[in-house]
């Protein structure tokens, strides 16, 4: 569905308390220019006269609250945790492996309803979660990453009359469901990792084009809502059903751009833990995480977790569009899957579906100076739904490994926190890494499994710190 151009991302209210006079003034320029070329209709400024003023308006009209990096680091405690100014990297929250252009571009900014996130692009918004938020198994809603392909995003006002249509050529009937209709169905809770397939793309070597994500295009939340299969039953699934097609209320700026739609194989769509979430960590979904309802596909990459979902079709045919045939594909057989997406696999490539086993060191971060008495390595491990058997930590760049202690178990699709106390350390440089092993015996790749679109990077980190 191509949505009506009502209240897009550009229609956000200005954030409170723009702290810098010139920030407010530039924001004003954006609005002035935007008024003449579509601002307020849901489109950004951008189609009009190509001049430098327009260029700046496009970058600042989003209502993003730009923070000074030092203030931000102080506010999140990074400077204090580092025990002083970082010395090894001027931007310790950005991996040194990112492209130079990404390191110059990334900044902490605040979207409405969110704490500061790492902004990579503002239109459409692509914001990642800072690493320090991953010391616990649950990622707070106000730190959860934001990712959109296309810039026409419905405002909260535009979502007020939200309805979900369920039908399709392999359904018995078409029904329109309200939020209350979803609430009236049996409610299921599942704690699951939502991770962009391209998380860590920016760390590929050689680099590949795309959003240059660092480590934070992921989060783990407890999602709540009805099972997708119970919603499908409202429309009635016929024996000819092959796939479930998903569409959300967000869409492209131009009508000729393919709307973002995805599909699931029937076997996946009917699983007990695939739900239509209306709540996340006990609250309504944040606007930019899919309010009022999104599909949750535990164990699968976030590209299937359709946000602002408005239309579900039970189809007798494979979905045929750019987003499933051309993008979000990996070389056939490169990554193990339990449930092949047979209606979308071809000889050369498969859709990128199941998450790969992975882990993240959330503390320490690059460039920290740490005490001789030792410190506690903290992080999370996760996989595609087998659950985490163990996590190991290395202090010598991966030559030797020691077993970490696992935290609470929130289920096989969730982050599993881990910690490891180093004990007393020799002075000098250390390289900190972590490595997860799943209950299926899978562990992280030793070297990057390169693929053209930059998916599934699960090579252990190499975090350079100094004991001093």
């Amino acid at each position: 569905m191509v949505p009506a151009l009502v209240g897009g991302y550009g229609a956000f209210p200005a954030p409170l308390g723009l702290p810098v006079v010139v920030g407010a003034a530039l924001f004003g320029v954006g609005i002035v220019l935007g008024t003449g070329c579509g601002f307020g209709t849901g489109r950004y400024a951008g189609a009009a006269a190509p001049d430098l003023a327009l260029q700046v308006s496009s970058e600042t009209v989003s209502g993003v609250y730009q923070m000074n990096r030092r203030d931000l680091l102080a506010s999140i405690g990074a400077v204090a945790l580092a025990g002083g100014p970082a010395t090894a990297a001027d931007e310790p929250w950005l991996s040194p492996l990112l492209p130079d252009g990404t390191r110059a571009e990334a900044r902490f900014s605040r979207l409405p309803g969110k704490k500061p996130l790492i902004q990579l692009t503002d239109r459409p918004p692509n914001f990642e979660t800072p690493i320090e938020a991953f010391r616990t198994a649950i990622t707070p809603n106000d730190r959860f990453f934001v990712r959109y392909h296309l810039a026409n995003i419905p405002s909260t006002d535009a979502l007020k009359g939200w309805r979900l249509t369920v039908g399709g050529d392999a359904a018995e009937r078409e029904v329109a469901l309200s939020h209350a209709d979803l609430d009236a169905l049996p409610q299921v809770e599942v704690t699951a990792v939502c991770q962009c397939a391209g998380n860590r793309r920016g760390l590929f070597s050689p680099h590949v084009p795309g959003v240059q994500w660092g480590y934070g295009a992921m989060g783990c939340a407890t999602w709540r809502g009805p099972r997708l299969k119970d919603v499908l039953a409202k429309a009635g699934v016929t024996p000819g059903a092959l796939e479930v097609w998903l569409d959300g209320q967000d869409g492209p700026v131009l009508p000729q751009t393919p709307d973002f739609r995805k599909s699931l194989p029937m076997a996946k769509a009917l699983e007990e833990r695939v739900i239509i979430a209306t709540a996340m960590n006990g609250s309504p979904l944040p606007h930019l995480n899919g309010f009022p309802a999104r599909i949750v596909v535990p164990g699968w990459t976030a590209t299937y977790w359709m946000k602002h979902v408005t239309a579900i079709e039970v189809s007798s045919k494979p979905l045929d569009n750019y987003w499933i045939h051309k993008s979000y594909r990996v070389p056939a057989g490169m990554f193990a899957v339990d449930l092949p997406f047979l209606t979308q696999n071809d000889e050369a490539a498969w859709p990128v579906t199941e998450i790969v086993v992975n882990s993240l060191v959330a503390y320490p971060i690059e460039g920290m100076r740490l005490p001789e008495a030792g410190f506690t390595v903290q992080g999370v491990a996760w996989d595609r739904g087998h659950g985490i058997r163990r996590a190991d930590v290395s202090l010598d760049g991966g030559k030797t490994w020691q077993q970490a202690i696992l935290g609470d178990d929130f289920g096989p699709f969730a982050f599993r926190a881990f910690s490891f106390k180093t004990g007393k350390l020799p002075l000098g440089p250390l390289i900190v890494s972590s490595r997860a092993t799943s209950n299926a015996g899978e562990t992280q790749a030793e070297t990057l499994r390169s693929n053209p679109a930059g998916y599934h990077n699960n090579v252990p980190q190499q975090i350079a710190v100094t004991v001093a």
Binding site: V29, G46, P50, Q66, N68, A104, E105, P209, G210
Partner: protein
């Protein structure tokens, strides 16, 4: 007029400017690039994807935008955009 206003704002606020996204580099083709590519997305996509793409890399991106995303860019405009991206944000432009 906006340019004058903008210039005065930037000059009067070095602290903010240092923390703002870097501007697009000047060069032949900048005008066409700004007018066409800014219709659908921020220019940050280009800066973020630098500096590592070989010439055929930017060609692939421009082609994808035209063929897959339906960007309203003529052959002539595409050539100018490509020249701009390659010269300013291609691997040969690496600082």
């Amino acid at each position: 007029m906006f340019r004058v206003l903008l210039a005065s704002l930037l000059l009067s606020a070095p602290a903010f400017a240092a923390d703002a996204p870097p501007p697009m580099r000047p060069g032949p083709g900048l005008g066409v690039f700004l007018g066409k590519c800014g219709i659908c997305h921020t220019y940050a996509y280009i800066r973020m994807n630098s500096t590592f793409l070989p010439p055929n890399g930017w060609l692939a991106e421009v082609t994808k935008m035209r063929k897959a995303y339906g960007a309203p860019v003529s052959d002539e405009d595409a050539a100018q955009i490509l020249q701009y991206l390659e010269s300013q944000y291609g691997v040969s432009a690496k600082p």
